[in-house]
Point group: C2
């Protein structure tokens, strides 16, 4: 194995500082996503949410925790329910959400965002909106819509 050292696919440049080719779709998705995430955090910290940690973004991932049961949410996020429970404890302590009793199942809880949590979600969505505006300016509105539609089709979120 590992005979892949020669320029079969790496014909982009003659520089052996970059033995790898052009950026693949992985990097092309990761980099702008990280930009979005960072902007969300910046805006949160500028607002009244200086205590909002990066880790909490997991919990607020689309479509958010509102009304969900902890077990269900943990499965959706693909983390253990204990891990989620830890994060929920932090978020409850900071006043972003509450764990309320589920009226239909005495074993279960339901996650309910507090006004503070809802406000944080608002800031997050605003921040993403700002990024979208900036990118729409860079690409042109039509091409940005195109990008969004392509991603929408790709993710199957329709």
């Amino acid at each position: 194995m590992a005979k892949r050292n020669e320029s079969s696919v790496f014909t982009t440049s003659g520089d052996d500082e970059t033995p790898f080719g052009p950026p693949l779709i992985g990097a092309l998705l990761r980099i702008p996503w990280e930009a979005v995430q960072q902007h969300m955090l910046e805006r949160l910290h500028e607002s009244d949410f200086g205590d909002f940690d990066v880790a909490y973004l997991t919990v607020f991932q689309y479509p958010g925790p509102q009304g969900a049961r902890p077990s269900e949410l943990a499965a959706r996020l693909r983390i253990s329910k204990q891990a989620l429970n830890y994060l929920l404890g932090e978020l409850e302590r900071l006043g972003y959400l509450e764990r309320r009793a589920d009226p239909d199942d005495l074993r279960s809880k339901r996650i309910a965002l507090t006004p503070r949590g809802i406000a944080a979600v608002g800031v997050i969505r605003e921040a993403v909106g700002e990024v979208e505006t900036a990118w729409a300016q860079r690409l042109g509105a039509g091409r940005f819509d195109e990008l969004r539609n392509l991603l929408l089709e790709l993710t199957g979120l329709t």
Copy 2:
């Protein structure tokens, strides 16, 4: 605390199950990126790289660690050089790379991938290629190229 039991702020839509709107660009980027990442890991584990941990993907992020100095790479990845050094230790222990002396600077090291490390990179790139093929089929080759070009322009990687 805060017995805010009623729908004070849930005025965005009539349905309080989904107080949030459609998926924003954040989710649209995150979801396919996670798919790529997961596929990379699956392929690595199917190959001879069962010991390749998710965390190591950070180090192999485009354009990869080959020839880099630890400090430089840590800055690029935006983690502390100690954190990177820990990962490099693991990767060196597993035979993916070596830290060699820098001929130009006695303080410094240079990261050099071993054949095993180069092979792993090959598997990673193959895996991403498979995802690209699948997506090109779903969207159509032309529209996938369009997607790639839009992302390329967005990331500024040209």
